[in-house]
């Protein structure tokens, strides 16, 4: 595909993708929470609760800790922006995204890393026990999850001879349905990484503020109002992005490949919706059936993910050679 | 002719004069003056040789060729600088009450005598006289080693005397055998049969069986003087217990002369045997000395002993290089002889003053020289770096050529060289660093130390590492052709 021909239609798709992501991301979180509630026989919160929270937070007055530096204030915007960028290069509906020329899958991993680093730095900035603790744990999770994700992407890009996510998706989607055992391994790895990176049970529990266990929430303790809103929104976006990566790698079918027409998109949107619904339900199911790990067990959990990914790589090489 | 007679005459005269007036207030200056005269004569001789090439003098009894003329020049030069250094040093010793005026006279007389014997050994063409001169060199230094009359110095002197005497006796037997072999070729009139030039001319016809035995005796004999392991046992004691100027000339000059004798013999023997065995023997001695010295260095506590062992190490390198043979290795060996004697004597100068400053030869007592007297500190540091073969000092140049050639011709020696040099480096530098750096324990000296010689020597060594003057290079090449063998 030509890299930088200015195509207004594709630019439009790009914009739509990002906006959809921004719009749908909280909904996905809401959906997951609702499913969890149902599975736990609780009365489910409203599906729109995340939107409500974000709006509420934006209206509040921001309270900054005395020792907070500019870094603390700018971090939410950076984290949010990286997530938006990520959403821009992950083919959720169409694969013809101009921004992809600028950032392939490796760069995507890099973006996630950037977000993580700034999140952790911001958490360390105020200098409370919780902040540093959270930052440390986050980085601990990250330094194992990141290479695992990279390996997952490697397998896919070895299969399709490119590191551009849409191209991978296109390749996997368009060619005749071949079975890839290596992808099976990586699928498992990816699921584990997704759980870890999005602060889900069994690695973290978004619902509690129990200092023994919390990771992500610990880092946000000092945040309030609009900063917190951006952080929350960013984490919704992260979940959405991971979901879409999963779709692109493992169930790419239904993505609008080729020249993007309104029709193709019109077909892609419901498909995406369906995938999200299923994925959310599945996520909720996993979270419900699995127990929270002790923090010190998290590395083992992620090491497993890493190993699965590398195993997938090996399997790929073996079977191809 | 005149140059030669001056060259040998000045030290002889100096010895006589010093024997009477050496104790006077101007004794040291007298010593330095004679050495200076000798140096000038040596320069004249050198110029002559550069002009006319090799010369035979006094009924062929004396023979000066590129090989020995640069050793003569070197000997005279280091002899002079050492005399300069020994002025304040010996004065300080007198002040510290370690030597009396009478001993000072002995010291100066013997110093000149020692110079004489070395120059004689270098310039003579007669293998017999070479032996005589070598023995005389031992005798003239043995009383210098015992100058302090301490138990240790006496012990060192005794060992020096007996071991070298016995060793040199073997060399005499070797000379006899050589004579025996030569006589059968050159006829029995006996005058020419010990002249190296004649032997060299007919070396092809000499009887191999005899020559082989002769070489063994000569090697053991002169090898003892050169301090090759396992014949080295006297060396660390003698070099460590004598006055430092003597250590400087023993390490810097006498060893060279012994190596010179060995090489002269090797040339003849290789010409006669046409076998690599002599070379192999030299290489074996060289490697053994190198390795053993490296391990000995590891345990030293006395600074002069340390550098005495380092001399053994470098003699090992030189012998090894001569054993390798070939133009490059021989060139490197000759270069190494030069730079080693310059560097090692410079180091001994510094060491002498450092030991005087701190009042002890034990390295644990010498600390932080650079803080109390930067010149001595940096002198020691630079000297140590130079002797350890770090560029741009000349020692590195020769070691570069030797190691690379060894790697090419005898790869099996490479790991040995690597290990030995590494251990030696760790041993010496690990001792020198705390002496130069860190907190200090030194005091002032009654006489200002003479550090000019140190830096002159080091400067020359530095230059030799970066630029070998053409005529010097030509000497080396000619000499290398001479001794390089096939």
């Amino acid at each position: 595909m030509s890299l930088v021909a200015f195509k207004p239609l594709e630019l439009l798709t790009q914009l739509i993708e990002i906006l959809v992501a921004l719009a749908v991301a909280p909904l996905l979180t809401g959906w997951v929470n609702q499913c969890r509630a149902w599975l736990a026989n609780r009365r489910a919160p409203s599906l729109w609760l995340p939107y409500d929270n974000i709006r509420k937070l934006f209206e509040k007055e921001a309270v900054l800790a005395a020792g907070a530096s500019p870094l603390f204030r700018v971090a939410p915007y950076i984290v949010f922006a990286t997530m938006v960028l990520a959403a821009g290069i992950i083919p959720s509906m169409g694969t013809r995204l101009p921004l992809v020329a600028a950032a392939d899958a490796i760069a995507l991993v890099g973006l996630f890393a950037t977000a993580r680093v700034f999140l952790s730095l911001a958490a360390m900035d105020v200098g409370t026990a919780f902040g540093t603790l959270g930052a440390r744990r986050e980085m601990m999770v990250g330094f194992l999850a990141e290479p695992a994700l990279l390996m997952v992407i490697f397998v896919a890009s070895l299969i399709s001879a490119t590191t551009a996510l849409p191209a991978i998706a296109e390749h996997l989607a368009t060619q005749s349905l071949g079975l890839y055992p290596s992808l099976a391994f990586t699928a498992v790895a990816f699921t584990l990484v997704l759980l870890a990176e999005n602060a889900r049970i069994p690695v973290d529990n978004p619902a509690t503020h129990l200092e023994l266990t919390m990771i992500h929430e610990a880092m946000l303790l000092e945040y309030s109002a609009r900063h917190l809103a951006l952080m929350e929104w960013a984490s919704h976006l992260r979940l959405f992005n991971y979901a879409c990566i999963g779709f692109a790698l493992f169930i790419p079918w239904g993505v609008a490949t080729g020249t993007v027409g309104p029709l193709a998109l019109a077909f892609a949107v419901p498909v995406l919706a369906a995938k999200l619904v299923l994925a959310g339900a599945g996520l909720a199911l996993i979270e419900t059936v699995s127990a929270k790990l002790r923090v010190m067990r998290a590395p083992e959990f992620l090491a497993t993910a890493f190993l699965f990914a590398v195993l997938g790589l090996l399997v790929h090489v073996l079977l191809r050679a | 002719m005149i140059e030669l007679s001056l060259l040998l005459g000045f030290p002889a005269a100096g010895a006589l004069v010093a024997a009477f007036f050496g104790a006077g207030r101007r004794g040291p200056e007298l010593n330095a003056l004679c050495s200076l005269a000798t140096l000038l004569a040596a320069c004249a001789l050198t110029v002559r040789v550069i002009g006319h090439g090799q010369v035979l003098l006094a009924h062929e009894q004396f023979f000066v060729d590129p090989f020995n003329v640069f050793l003569v020049a070197l000997t005279a030069f280091v002899g002079f600088t050492t005399a300069l250094f020994s002025r304040p040093y010996m004065r300080t010793e007198v002040v510290h009450g370690r030597v009396t005026a009478g001993r000072l006279r002995l010291y100066h007389a013997m110093y000149q005598l020692f110079m004489l014997t070395m120059l004689l050994a270098l310039t003579t063409n007669n293998m017999g006289l070479l032996w005589v001169a070598m023995e005389a060199a031992t005798l003239s230094t043995v009383l210098l080693v015992t100058l302090y009359r301490t138990p240790q110095s006496l012990e060192a002197g005794w060992k020096y005397f007996i071991l070298c005497g016995v060793g040199i006796a073997q060399a005499l037997f070797g000379t006899i055998l050589l004579y025996f072999a030569a006589e059968r070729v050159l006829g029995a009139e006996g005058v020419t049969a010990l002249l190296w030039t004649h032997l060299d001319a007919v070396k092809g016809e000499l009887e191999p069986a005899v020559i082989a035995l002769a070489f063994v005796f000569l090697l053991v004999g002169y090898g003892t003087k050169a301090g090759l392991v396992p014949l080295h046992s006297w060396l660390p004691d003698a070099h460590a217990e004598g006055p430092t100027p003597i250590s400087a000339v023993l390490s810097g000059l006498l060893l060279n002369v012994a190596i010179y004798a060995v090489v002269r013999c090797k040339v003849l023997v290789e010409g006669s045997l046409h076998s690599p065995v002599p070379g192999r023997m030299l290489m074996g001695f060289g490697l053994l000395s190198l390795v053993a010295a490296a391990f000995f260095l590891w345990r030293q506590r006395d600074i002069k002993r340390l550098f005495a062992y380092s001399s053994i190490e470098h003699m090992g390198i030189i012998t090894f290089a001569f054993g390798l043979g070939g133009p490059v290795a021989s060139f490197a060996a000759l270069l190494h002889m030069t730079v080693h004697s310059l560097t090692k004597s410079a180091i001994f100068f510094v060491v002498g003053h450092a030991a005087q400053k701190c009042g002890t030869p034990l390295m644990d007592g010498i600390r932080g020289l650079v803080t109390v007297s930067p010149t001595i500190g940096w002198g020691l540091m630079l000297g140590a770096l130079a002797i350890l073969g770090l560029p741009p000092f000349g020692v590195f140049a020769s070691e570069f050529l030797i190691v690379t050639t060894a790697m090419r011709d005898e790869p099996w020696t490479a790991p040995i060289l690597l290990v030995a040099l590494g251990i030696a480096f760790a041993a010496i530098f690990g001792r020198v660093q705390p002496m130069v750096f860190g907190e200090t324990s030194a005091r002032r000296l009654p006489h200002a130390p003479a550090l000019l010689p140190v830096f002159v020597h080091l400067a020359i060594v530095l230059v030799l590492g970066l630029y070998v003057p053409p005529y010097l290079a030509d000497w080396y090449r000619a000499a290398a052709r001479l001794v390089g063998g096939p």
């Binding site: - | 005589v132 043995v142 005499l172 004579y179 009887e207």
Partner: protein, 222 residues
Amino acid sequence: MLTAPLDLQLLNACAALLLLLSFAMLSQRRIVSLVNLLIVQGAVLTCATLLLAWRTGQSHLYVSAALTLGLKVVFLPWLLHRLIRRLEVYWDTEPLLNVSGTMLVGILTVVFAFALAQPITQLAATTMRSGIGIAIAVVLLAFLMMITRRKAMSQVVGFLSMENGLFFGAMSATYGMPMVVELGIALDVLVAVLVLGVFFFQIREQFDSLDLHHLESLRERQ
């Protein structure tokens, strides 16, 4: 020829005598008698030289004979005796290797020496071929003696007998060295012994004994 001419037989006898004397020294523990043995050795050496000079008519051999006589029979022994009397060292302590063992090693050494001399002996044009082997043997035996003795004095005696061996070797191989070298060697030996004399007194005033175990402090293994 069946029977060698008398003078040659005498020469060989001298050679044999020299060897015998070195063995005697090897076994002898009284220093005074060591010196006496040295005198005898020097005397035998002189006779041998004279015989050879007379036989071959080499005039310079007479000179070296005279040198030997003066130096090794008269002067040095006299000096040594004086030293012994002044320093009161009459007995050497028990040698490091007991006498019988030393003898055994000595015999092996002699065999080795003869084996070495073999090729040379074939070549030797001189009248006394066997001399070289003997000479090497004497040198090595002297070496052995210096190794096994504990008193400085007896080491010196060994040193001198080594010189004798060398001299004998030179003589029997090549009718002696050129004159200038002979003189030089003689001078060296003389000076050496004088220096030794000085040494003895220095050592004595330091340790008031000539026992070598005082001279074992300079070592690596403390």
